[in-house]
């Protein structure tokens, strides 16, 4: 117990780094993903092709490679990021691509007839998006967004490779120093707590949309 008390502060400090990465990635990549999804369904061909290419690269290569590329690779051509910025940059680009694909599917699932009936009722495009399309898209994408959110909690541990002091690193350092399993078990418990809270909140949001079909 004393041992747990002794290492907990360093683990929690690591968890703070994990949470900060998690929150900033979500806050930026979800709106960015929505904007990209609108580009993906737009009729501007060059834009659409460019975004498809971006999504293909981001989803088709490992996130670990992207992290290493940004932090260790880009300095070779003169683009230098701080560790934390490099991690955030890679995560945002990667997750925005996944979110864009999810939102694209959501927008395309709305029947053309919804836009048409809004049009004969003389709603403007913005009114149609705000009152009719977006609420329906949100309901459709919540389960998939939820999956990505849970994944993101765990994916933040990849920053280990560029030497950021996150939760996993804190646990690993303690285990190597003290030759005990306890820190790793604690790390697992903290991850479980974080994903548990995220799942709970997502369930709440999902339920608030379940009163209509």
């Amino acid at each position: 117990m004393n041992y747990i008390n002794a290492i907990l502060p360093s683990l929690l400090q690591g968890a703070q780094m994990t949470l900060s990465l998690f929150c900033w990635t979500l806050i930026i990549s979800i709106p960015l993903g929505i904007i990209i999804s609108l580009g993906l369904i737009s009729h501007i061909k060059p834009l659409q092709l460019f975004l498809k290419f971006y999504v293909w690269i981001m989803r088709g290569t490992p996130l670990l490679l992207q992290l290493i590329f940004v932090f260790y690779g880009l300095p070779i051509i003169g683009v230098i990021f701080q560790r934390y910025d490099a991690a955030l940059f890679a995560f945002i680009l990667n997750y925005a691509a996944y979110f864009a694909e999810i939102f694209r599917g959501g927008f395309q699932a709305i029947p053309e007839g919804q836009y048409e009936s809004a049009r004969v009722l003389r709603l403007t495009k913005m009114q149609t998006l705000k009152h009719i399309v977006i609420p329906q898209v949100v309901k459709i994408v919540i389960p998939s967004i939820g999956n990505e959110v849970i994944n993101l909690v765990k994916d933040t541990s990849l920053v280990y490779v560029i030497g950021l002091g996150d939760l996993l690193r804190a646990g690993n350092v303690a285990t190597a120093r003290d030759v005990t399993l306890v820190p790793l078990v604690l790390v697992g418990i903290i991850y479980l707590a974080m994903t548990g809270i995220a799942s709970y909140l997502l369930k709440k949001i999902e339920n608030s949309y379940s009163k209509w079909k």
């Binding site: 009936s117 609420p135 209509w212």
Partner: protein, 215 residues
């Protein structure tokens, strides 16, 4: 009186509507009939502004109007879609009040009062707070009619109003359509392939078979 003059609509090389001329006196019911693919729905879509016509004009009481760009505050055409296209995320009441409050800038209380009157007339009292998915097909259709009427159109159009209903409910739709004619003097256009239904409600039928032969 609604007049269609030389309405022509092409999709690429295919002429769907070729110089359609049609007159509907106010307060009458016109049924547009014909086989699938003949252009019945296209005609309705042109009239409601969802398709732009290649040539011709629409006149309401002698005044030309462009259904694709309604400008004045009084609406000419209202549409009840084949699959209703109610907004699933909004309650019955919100479905009806949304457009009057946003497009006609009606205040919320007045829009709700009007919506409740419409619901009462269409036998939907008590359904205000339900969502479309909680209603039967016939009830959804009546909500769609109420939603269209809330915009105070001069003409109400129905696309295949009987196709999604079981036979027992056909009589109910016919009753509603005739009641609107009797009580509101509403001009109505019904696109249907159901000849019996057309005969039952319409003052006049217009057949669109001709166009299919020209393709």
């Amino acid at each position: 009186m609604l007049e269609l003059k030389n309405i022509t609509k092409k999709f690429g090389q295919r002429t769907i509507l070729d110089k359609v001329n049609l007159t509907i006196p106010s307060g009458q019911i016109l049924a547009i009939v014909g086989p699938s693919g003949a252009g019945k729905t296209t005609l309705l879509r042109c009239l409601s502004g969802l398709e732009t016509i290649d040539s011709g004009s629409f006149l309401w009481d002698g005044q030309e109007f462009d259904p694709a760009n309604p400008t004045d505050s009084s609406q000419i055409i209202g549409v009840v879609f084949q699959d209703y296209q109610l907004f699933p995320n909004l309650t019955v009441l919100e479905n009806i009040t949304l457009a009057p409050t946003l497009a006609l800038k009606k205040d919320k209380a007045a829009a709700e009062k009007q919506a409740k009157e419409l619901l009462e007339r269409l036998n939907l009292t008590g359904k205000e707070q339900l969502y479309p998915a909680q209603l039967s097909g016939g009830q959804q259709q009546r909500v769609a009619i109420a939603r269209a009427l809330a915009m105070k159109p001069q003409i109400l159009c129905y696309d295949e109003p009987t196709s999604a209903l079981d036979p027992a409910l056909r009589g109910t739709v016919a009753e509603i359509i005739l009641k609107l004619k009797r009580e509101e003097n509403m001009t109505q256009i019904i696109v249907t392939h159901d000849m019996d239904f057309a005969k039952e409600v319409a003052d006049k039928t217009f057949t669109v078979t001709d166009f299919s032969q020209r393709r």
